[in-house]
Amino acid sequence: MSFPWANEYKPSHPAMVWLDEKLPLPRFVFNAVGAGYPVPRNLNYMYNFGVLAGVCLMIQIITGVVLAMHYAANTGVAFDSTEHIMRDVNWGWLLRYAHANGASAFFVVVYFHIFRGFFYGSYKAPREMIWLIGVLIFLLMMATAFMGYVLPWGQMSYWGAKVITGLFGAIPLVGEPIQTWLLGGFAPDQAALNRFFSLHFLLPFVILGVVILHIWALHIPGSTNPTGVEVKQESDTVPFHPYYTAKDGFGLGVFLIFYCAMVFFAPNALGHPDNYIPANPMQTPAHIVPEWYFWPFYAILRAFTQDFLFIPAKLLGVLAMFSSILVWFLLPWLDNSPVRSGHFRPTFKKFFWLLVVDVAVLGYCGGSPAEEPYVIISQIAALYYFAHFFIVLPIVSMIEKPLPLPFSITESVLGKDDAATVAPAE
């Protein structure tokens, strides 16, 4: 980020001066997340979730690498080695519960982060690339989480793997060969478990790399803010350190309270008891559900029960489920309102909250059995979901009359009194 008033890195210690000449890593950190990065002064707590997502990624990588030292990716012993971690490995129960609940925490935080982006128009020019990279990170997270859930080789692991790879079988002609190729067999077995473990270990580091691109792209225009008005002058910003390191630190403390409460007092609340039964290819659990963070998408998958034209219902469901995320890639071009922030868009704001409720309803239906009334409710909710992006957003951005925007971030914070009318920096 390069506002002209950004603090410059000035090492004083000779060793740091020496290092700065050879490898300016401290300078890089100073400019990225230190006092050299000016950030809008009015960020609220919704802007904490990016940092929290980074913390979750680190929790997952650290606990995951340690768990991999005790886990064996073999269908004969995978379940037993998971129980070995729970019962025999020193602190193994803590590491595994931290990892399993860490995945849920990661998704909670990322959903807040995504909906923050929806509300404040964070995806709009000049920040489209940040948004596109973010959607890619989310897709990678979903793949990683899915493969991680298969590793304990319980009933839900096995049948989840079977159902999700079965989605590829819906593709006409090449679907079944692709499914067999992905699994390395005709059903999930040793080959599938082993490759899922390999990829589950790899993908978090891919995510880490893409996160660096996400932050890099962010630092070109700088953060958006709750007013959606761009930074105009020095008084609109404060240095990231110490202001937002402190604010993020506080948010991290609050996050850790909830996270530790789950890990220590309700470690299985978000899990499924069936996954404590070893995988059995001969016996399907009565009610297969994915982890809660996939429920809205699972509901969309199951909402299609009728063939349409010559397309089978199963393929429609699969296409709709993938489209429900891929549509986010189009978002910067579907919402053409020049106003970013939902605060100044009265009509958009109502539909935004309707979308939040809609996704919550989809989530509830996705976690329920595939029977009435959940099927019809998820059909209506899925219909609204797509209508929101393809019909509501384009129309609202055309006809809506936004509220007047503040002149600057400073004015929105301090009002139009003397303190606010600081002369522009140039």
């Binding site: 390395g184 005709f186 080959a191 001969m282 009565a286 199951r302 469901g317």
Partner: protein
């Protein structure tokens, strides 16, 4: 040195540079093509290592003794690590399956299409729902068979009839009939 410099780069200053194609262009295209084909061919082992390995394929046939199955009974066996249903139909079930007009079905097949000639009381199908791969109920004693008397998938409510044809629910196809043959009156080889 001057000589080599000229010899290195005859095309740039040579008379044939005027027509736009230089000798060196051929080398560029040939070299990058060869490197490209080489790089692409590396993908072949990387992609095909994902396909089922020889030991997985070696397990792809199963022999079953079906002599003790009574009419109305069914067993669940394993073929390619997936359940396979072997069901001995009762005359009533055969009659029910035959009474359905084939054209009215989602995946039109007659009972004759799905069984061996002269052995139509033996219905051998994969126990894998064609929707998302769950194991349907209906083989075990007392399991729900669904309203068409065949199989019922509890995951998303697909209902199969006594010829294991899809009749209701989200599944697009009938339960798959694996390749099999009777090696004697009581032994069947699947795969």
């Amino acid at each position: 040195m001057t000589d080599t410099a000229v010899a290195d780069n005859p095309a740039q200053s040579g008379p044939e540079s005027g027509d736009g194609v230089r000798r060196r262009d051929f080398i560029y295209v040939a070299a990058t093509s060869a490197a490209g084909v080489g790089a692409a061919s590396v993908l072949i082992p990387l992609v095909s290592q994902m396909a089922p390995s020889a030991d997985v394929l070696a397990e792809s046939s199963t022999e079953l003794d079906i002599g003790s199955i009574q009419p109305g009974q069914a067993i669940k066996a394993v073929f390619r690590k997936q359940p396979v249903f072997v069901r001995r139909l009762t005359p009533k079930e055969i009659a029910e399956a035959k009474a359905v007009p084939v054209d009215s079905l989602r995946d039109p097949q007659s009972l004759e299409d799905r069984t061996k000639k002269g052995k139509e009381e033996w219905l051998i199908t994969m126990g894998v729902c064609t929707h998302l791969g769950c194991v349907p109920l209906g083989t075990g004693e007392g399991e729900v068979k669904g309203e068409f008397g065949g199989y019922f998938c509890p995951c998303h409510g697909s209902v199969y009839d006594t010829a294991a044809r899809i009749r209701k629910g989200p599944a697009p196809k009938n339960l798959e009939v694996p390749p099999y043959e009777f090696t004697s009156d009581t032994v069947v080889k699947i795969g």
